[in-house]
């Protein structure tokens, strides 16, 4: 079974780390990831940019584009896509297409990636 492990923490705190502190945190995490990668058990790893870089697309007849991260608490995270786009507008178009194709309500939050490693899972 594949498991997704999602990271949650206070952005105010992580945003207050100095470059050295940030590097130290990442270095420690890399030790854990390295072992998983060697066992061919590590899939894609992504670090997101801060929520200040987030845009939300609310699904509906007419999709609504909002600045900022997804803020509702009534809905739950169901999944995610990683898509290469030339610009934010292109990413919004992809989200709108996905929205039209899905029959449900809900939203997409678009967050640029700060770091992406495709991982080493055997296909």
């Amino acid at each position: 079974m594949l498991y997704a492990i999602l990271c949650y923490d206070s952005e105010e705190v992580s945003g207050s780390w100095t470059k050295e502190q940030d590097d130290a945190v990442i270095a420690k995490l890399m030790v854990v990831q390295k072992k998983l990668a060697e066992d061919k058990r590590l899939g894609p790893v992504a670090r997101l940019m801060p929520t200040s870089a987030a845009t939300t697309v609310r699904k509906g007849k007419e999709a609504v584009v909002l600045d900022g991260p997804f803020a509702e608490t009534k809905e739950q995270l169901l999944g995610f896509y990683v898509v290469e786009c030339a610009s934010l507008d292109a990413a919004i178009d992809v989200a709108k297409d996905l929205g039209r194709a899905s029959s449900s309500n809900g939203s997409f939050e678009i967050r640029p990636l700060r770091l992406f490693r495709p991982g080493s899972l055997p296909l």
Partner: protein
């Protein structure tokens, strides 16, 4: 990361929100600050034992409010205090904190706190000192070092600033949209000043002033988070990120300025450029251009070019023309002339620069640019005179040193153009 380092980061991160909320409750900057200090001390004791709270800011507001009540009671014994009515709903602190977490008045708390510190009645140096002390929590000696003054002088500056804003009438009700826009504008100006104060430093000062850039960016990101739909706030944050990305490349080992054209762009921070690009993309979608967005777009154009020779100068000239329309100023025209030099050559650029002589007659950079243009046109004597004037007007040794370098190049020109080279 050690536990103490984590707590320190958590306290720094929660500070604007917590002090902003405490200020709303107590309507007194000193009391809010003191309450936060006491709460921070308690956090240092309590958090390692019990683990960090889910919401550090809410914890600090709750503990800080109770602590400040003690301070109020203590002060009451020492001196007559304002009416109980001045302090808002002190009885039901916990309920108010719950409301504070669920609701979003903290947006305006943060803005009010920043606005008070960046109050237009204060001179710029006092604004920055007060914001760094109250909002960012830098110590007085840290701030004093950044402004190259003694601790005592900085202490006095901050005290004066506090006294002045205590007299300035800032309403504590939620601001109207127009007031909010005014406050955001004033705060943005101060944050950019703070950034530039750090960025313009050279030599030994560069090191002690670097935190000013980090703090300005941290506050700009915070503003974007709490007011997500403001294109100029996004533009300001993007502009700072693009400029800060160049920091590793813009000073040499001696602390002298390395010109944009000579910088090793592989040293630019990719992370910061990417974040700036993401924020500028968001801003542009609003189709409401403003000076910060245009300046960020200029910086983004530079960031897109792998080398100086790859720069899209026509794009940059168009952007400077747009900036001229938004904020007409001879300095903007001077910058536009530099782009014109690359697009249409030195003659066209000089024609644009010469009419500015009257307005910019006391401006170091004007004579630097003019000298460089004359040099390109082979008018060496006039170029030398212009560079001499620039040195006389230089504000810092680094600026003067930079022009002397240009003068050195000038004397090398004949050799560089010798046949066979």
């Amino acid at each position: 990361m050690t536990c103490v380092a984590w707590i320190d980061a958590a306290l720094r991160g929660a500070r604007p929100q917590a002090v902003g909320a405490l200020l709303r409750h107590f309507k007194d900057l000193d009391l809010a600050e003191e309450a936060f200090q006491v709460a921070s001390l308690r956090a240092l004791k309590a958090w390692p034992e019990k683990g960090p709270p889910r919401d550090p800011a809410a914890w600090l507001v709750f503990v800080g409010r109770n602590a400040a009540l003690d301070v109020v009671r203590r002060r009451r014994k020492e001196a007559a205090l304002p009416d109980e009515a001045v302090l808002s709903d002190l009885g039901d602190a916990e309920a108010a904190v719950v409301e504070h977490i669920d609701d979003a008045p903290y947006r305006d708390d943060i803005l009010r706190l920043l606005f008070i510190c960046c109050h237009p009645d204060l001179p710029a140096t006092q604004q920055l000192a007060l914001a760094l002390r109250i909002v960012c929590g830098l110590t007085v000696p840290q701030i004093a070092r950044a402004f190259l003054v003694s601790d005592t002088a900085m202490e006095q500056r901050i005290t004066r600033a506090k006294a002045r804003v205590a007299g300035a009438d800032v309403p504590f009700e939620a601001p109207s949209p127009a007031e909010r826009a005014d406050r955001l504008g004033a705060v943005a100006t101060s944050l950019y000043l703070m950034f530039n104060e750090g960025y313009a430093a050279t030599g030994g000062a560069a090191h002690v002033k670097a935190p000013l850039c980090d703090e300005a960016i941290r506050l700009a990101r915070l503003l974007v988070r709490v007011f997500p739909g403001e294109p100029e706030t996004l533009g300001l944050a993007a502009l700072m990120l693009f400029q800060h990305a160049r920091t590793p490349a813009r000073l040499d080992a001696q602390g002298a300025i390395v010109l944009l054209e000579d910088q090793d762009r592989s040293m630019w921070s990719r992370d910061l450029v990417d974040e700036g690009t993401a924020l500028l993309d968001k801003a542009v979608r609003h189709r409401s251009a403003g000076p910060y967005q245009v300046q960020a777009a200029i910086a983004a154009t530079h960031a897109r070019a792998a080398r100086w020779e790859d720069t899209d100068w026509e794009g940059i000239e168009r952007l400077y023309a747009a900036l001229e329309r938004l904020t007409p100023s001879p300095v903007v025209t001077l910058n536009r002339a530099v782009a014109v030099l690359e697009v249409r050559g030195p003659e066209a650029a000089l024609a644009m620069v010469e009419p500015l002589a009257k307005q910019l007659g006391g401006y170091f950079y004007f004579f630097g640019v003019r000298g460089a243009l004359l040099q390109r046109l082979g008018r060496a004597e006039e170029a030398r005179a212009s560079f001499d004037r620039a040195i006389a007007l230089a504000n810092t040794p680094a600026e003067a040193a930079h022009i002397r370098m240009q003068l050195d190049r000038l004397s090398k020109v004949p050799r560089a153009r010798a046949p066979g080279r």
